[in-house]
Symmetry: C2
Subunit: 366 residues, 2 copies
Amino acid sequence: MKVQGQALRPLRETASRDAVVVIDQRLLPHRLAFETLATPEAVHHAIREMVVRGAPLIGATAAYGLALALKPDASDCAVEEQAEWLKAARPTAVNLAWALDRVVRHVRALPAGERAEAAWVLAAAIAEEDVEVNRRIGEHGLPLLRDIAARKGVGPGRPLHVLTHCNAGWLATVDWGTATSPIYQGHEAGLPLHVWVDETRPRNQGASLTAWELGQAGVPHTLIADNAGGHLMQHGQVDLVIVGCDRVTARGDVCNKIGTYLKALAAHDNGVPFFVAMPTSTLDLSVADGLAEIPIEERRGREVTHLAGLAASGEVIEVAIAPAGTPAANPAFDVTPARLVTALITERGVVPAEERALHALMAQTP
Amino acid sequence: MKVQGQALRPLRETASRDAVVVIDQRLLPHRLAFETLATPEAVHHAIREMVVRGAPLIGATAAYGLALALKPDASDCAVEEQAEWLKAARPTAVNLAWALDRVVRHVRALPAGERAEAAWVLAAAIAEEDVEVNRRIGEHGLPLLRDIAARKGVGPGRPLHVLTHCNAGWLATVDWGTATSPIYQGHEAGLPLHVWVDETRPRNQGASLTAWELGQAGVPHTLIADNAGGHLMQHGQVDLVIVGCDRVTARGDVCNKIGTYLKALAAHDNGVPFFVAMPTSTLDLSVADGLAEIPIEERRGREVTHLAGLAASGEVIEVAIAPAGTPAANPAFDVTPARLVTALITERGVVPAEERALHALMAQTP
């Protein structure tokens, strides 16, 4: 996607192919700054501290991290150890494990001396694949948007109102985004669209990333508190919801950013379609019951009690919003039961959130 | 209630009975500061700008405002005009109109020369009544908490987990609070309690007011993002929800702070009791369908895009959390349909959120 007219990706290789350059997403929207990750430690840190975030993006970034890790030692033991260590940077999104396992499987078949280079080439392929996967999610999702637009009488002065939670935009992927891909493709094709952007506390990915992305792309949008979406749906102001995901189970339970479940409940209560954009790399067929089986990352309470923003002085300053010493809990994800999901939009097509449909989808030759 | 061991109310008369002193709630939890309101304009401003907030508190404060307004001119025309002007300070909570209408009815029966003093005396009575009403809400609510505690095996090491949204604490009333009254009374009686405090974006009344109140009272609590409550309920970590209200309709629809509806949906989906603490002054029998009929205040978008907090420098600083110029919508309340409400806890007793029960309750001699 473009920023101020210039094509940009949140992850790219250096020309010398010995490091990757990422956007430091902790600084957006106030500063667009880049960080060069030249060591596996730097990659691990960038994932853990959310310099990069978003299930697809952390998968691709971690693959590069493993390639960097194999340069000094590509023994079987090192391959396993480094992959496990990178996986542990964040526990919930399955794409991280998916990308690393793919690299491990690939290089284990090769002599140790070729592994680092092969891992790098595969990481690049995973990144490029992600772009194509997301482009196709947009292709499959756009007809759903068009159908609803037709039913709702969308036209000049009456845009299609889409609500999204968190950032499942191009910043969360290598390009296009997942949930935003049908939105960007619809916007480019002239479909009148307006996006309700959930702020997404506590880390404000909606306010800081999705609002910024949509602004750069010229897509009309309005920021709302996470609390407001139910009210808007009750008043017919949301035509559909579309979100990304961090892990989808065999029966279609969707693990995504904390608060997604509340929006799914409200959508269900008001007859609003609730779509999940899901690259099939996010599907974890080894897990059925999302509530019981997916580990939910618990992050620092300080993310709830403090937040950073741009002061009038032009500095980014952290402020406390609660009494000193207030205890805080900070689960980062929740699970939306399959019964609340209208459909999953994948790069292979649109499927219901049901076990048989998901197995059939995965049995197809891609 | 007490602050640092000293009894304090968010609204009190000056010794000379020519002004009221309120806590400036915009500055909490970082500063406990008072503002003296000596003119009707100051009262109107304090209500509109949320120096004072909370349905019961703005009712009592407005009654004093009308008393101040009648000093220079207590003609029939002035009584009506001033009351209507004060009502317009905020549109949603019905207690504001309830208190002002009560003063109007009372003084219209008196000669103009006696009206200002009579209004002041009635305002004081309304404030004292509010304390007693809230005390009784606690008395009626506590047995509900005890029942659930008994069923859940609450005891040392296993507190009763209560979730609340916004601030329906003593800061929102003249004393005790509504939703917090059973909590404070249970805590004083030795019931082991733990409160999940919803942050309550965009104005953070949970993080800044409820967390502060509970901390001062020594009630164990944990601050959470508004997004987290559904997840906690899915995992059995919430035993009941209790919230306040700004207006309840004849059929039991509950208008309360934006986001309440989402918590009610999650409570319903997880079999968690959802209680609403309601002084009967909040009941509006003239309205049936809360969604269609209650005017929802739309506040400035800047409350969503900017927020104030305590910087490391010790100053309270406002920061932007979204890209400059991001449009924001800010509905301040939503409506929870009666079907999602387990019961209403009033000063007259506990009733289901149903038309017949509410009419019967109001037909009782108080």
